[in-house]
Amino acid sequence: MIKESIKMSWQNIIHNRMRSFLTALGIVIGVMAIISLITIVQAATSSVTSQFSELGAGKLVVSALGTPLKKGLTDNDVKGLLEIDGIRGVSPTLNFSTDVVRNLMVEENVTVEGRNEMYFTENPKLIGRGRPLSLIDMESKNRVCVINPDLQEIIFPGEDPLGKTLKLKGITFTVVGVIDDEVTTDIVSAIQKSQGRDVSEGKAIIPYQTAMSMTGANSITSLEIFVVDTTRNAEVKADTERVLNQAFNYKEDSFSILDMDSLLDSMNTMLGMMTAMLVGIASIALLVGGIGIMNMMLVSVTERTTEIGLRKALGAEPKQIQMQFLAESIFLSVLGGLIGMLLGLLLSAVVINALDVDFAISMTAIGLGFGFSAAVGIIFGWAPARKASLLNPIDALRSV
C-alpha cells in the first residue's frame, strides 16, 4: 500500500507539474539558504580558526602599561618570567613605524618589529628564504633585518634582497632573510587573508635591542610568552601574573595578559552562535515554504473531493487516503529539499571558491536539510491529509 501511495502521489505531482514546482520552490529556497549558510560559515570558520590557532596556540601576550615610576619591564623582569615553570621562552616585541630608504627609493610608514631569537624558534615556518635572526644578532646588536615579501617587492623589485642593504631611520641594515609568502604573522592580516583581501604592507623585523636603542625606549612594553603545555595555560598565567605584580609593585592596571587559547575558545563559541542564528533565520524561509505546501495540499484536497469520495466507495480506508496525501506532501518537500541541497552546495562551492577557502561538504548541513524538509512535509501535510481522510464519502460524491 505504501508503494501504491507513493505511485499515486507521484502521478499527481507530475500531472500538476507547474504547481508542484512552485510549491516546492519555497522548500528549495529554504533548504538552499540553510545548506549554503552552514557550509560557507563552517568553511570560513575552520580556515580562520586554523590560522588563528597557528598564530596563537600556546601563547600568552603580555602588554605592560607600566606605572608612572616604571614605564615597562626590564631585562631582569624578563629573566624572572623565564624562571616560571612551564614557560619555554619569552619574546619581547617593540613596534614602531618609519621610512625605509634604499638608494633613491623611499617607502613610507613601514612597520618595524623588534624581536628576539625566541620569536623565530617559536615560528619555524616564518622564514621563506635566508636565515632568521639569531642569539648572536641580539647580543652583538647586529644591524641585520628580515623583511616580508611586500617590502621586498617595493624596495627590491625583481632583485634578490639577501645580503643587500636598506636604511631605517638613517641606519644601514643588511637583509638576511625573507618571510615566507604563505605565512601570516598577526591576527589582523590572517583574517584579512582568509577573507581573500590582499594586504600589501611592508614589514621589517630587527633585533629588539637594536630597536630599543633606535627608539630610545629603555623598557619592554609588550612580550609574548610561549607555554610548554597548553593544558597548563591557567597555571602559567597565574604565575606570570604573580611575577608581573611583583615587578610593578602590585599597582592595579599596570599590565594585561591575553590568553590566546581562551580567546580562540570564545571566538569559536561566537562563530557557533552566529551559525545557529543564521540557520534560524533561514529556517523562516523553510517555515514559509511549509505553509505553501500546506496551502497547496488543502487546495488539492478540495479539488479532489470527488476522487476521495470515489476511492472511499471503492474500499479505501481513511488511513489509506491519509497516507496518499501525506506521501504527496512529503514527496514534494523532500524533492524540494534535494534540489535545494544541490543548489545550496553549488552556491557555497562558488562562494567558498571566491573566498579562496577549502570547500568541504558539511554532513551536518546535509542532514539538517534533508531532515528539515522531510519534517516540513510531515508536519504541514498532516492536517490536509487528515482532512481528506475524514471527508464524508456521500458529500464527496455529491459534489459532482
Binding site: 500500500m1 474500499g315 480506508e317 481513511p318 459532482v400
Partner: protein, 227 residues
Amino acid sequence: MAKEAEILTMRGIVKSYQMGDELQVILKGINLSVQRGEFISILGPSGSGKSTMMNIIGCLDSPSDGEYWLSGKRIADMNDKELAKIRGREIGFVFQQFQLLPRLTAVQNVELPLIYAGVSQAERNKKALEMLDRVGLTNKIRNYPNQLSGGQQQRVAIARALVNNPTILLADEPTGALDQNTGEQVMGLFRELHAEGRTIVMITHDHNIAKNASRIVQILDGNLTEG
C-alpha cells in the same frame, strides 16, 4: 436472522435529518429483502429518498434507526475501517457520471478496488484485463477516460464494480448520462450479468429502465412499495 439466500435485509430503516428546527424524515421505515441472484430496480422520482436509499445500501451512510444486514453482517456494528472493507468487497458501485479517474487508463481504473483490497500488482492486472474483456473493451485497455465514449466509460465503470467479485452490484441511474441507444446496450450488459447469477440493485427514476429488472420496488415519499 437473515435466511441463507437472502443477502440483503432491511428492517424498519429510518433516515432523518435535522434541518434547523424541523426534523426531516427521508426514509420512513423501509423493509426490503434481496435474494441472491436477484435483479431489483428501486424506482422513484427525485426527492423520493432513493439516493439516501442507495447511500445506505452502499454503506456510505448509516440509518437513523432500523436494522441492516448485508451478507449476514450487521452494518450498524461496524466502524469506519470495517465499512471501508465492506464497500470494497461486498459492493460494486456504478454511478450515473461513471466516476472514472481521468489520469488513469481504463485498466488502471479497473484495478483501483483491488489496490485497496491488497491484491498484488500482477494479480490486479490479470483480473482487470479479464473484466475489461468481459465488458467488451479488450482493445481499449490503455485508453484514458476522455478517449472513450460515454457507453464505453460506463462499461469500464461496470468492469471496475465487478472486478472484486462483489456480493451486490449497486447502480445509481447507470443510464442517466447516456443516450437511449447506448443506455439500452448497458442494460443489455446488466441483463447478461443477471443471467450469469449476479445480484444487481439498480436505482432509477425511469420506468422503462426499471423494467429490465426481474423485480421492481417503488419508493415514494420515503415509503417502499412492492411492484
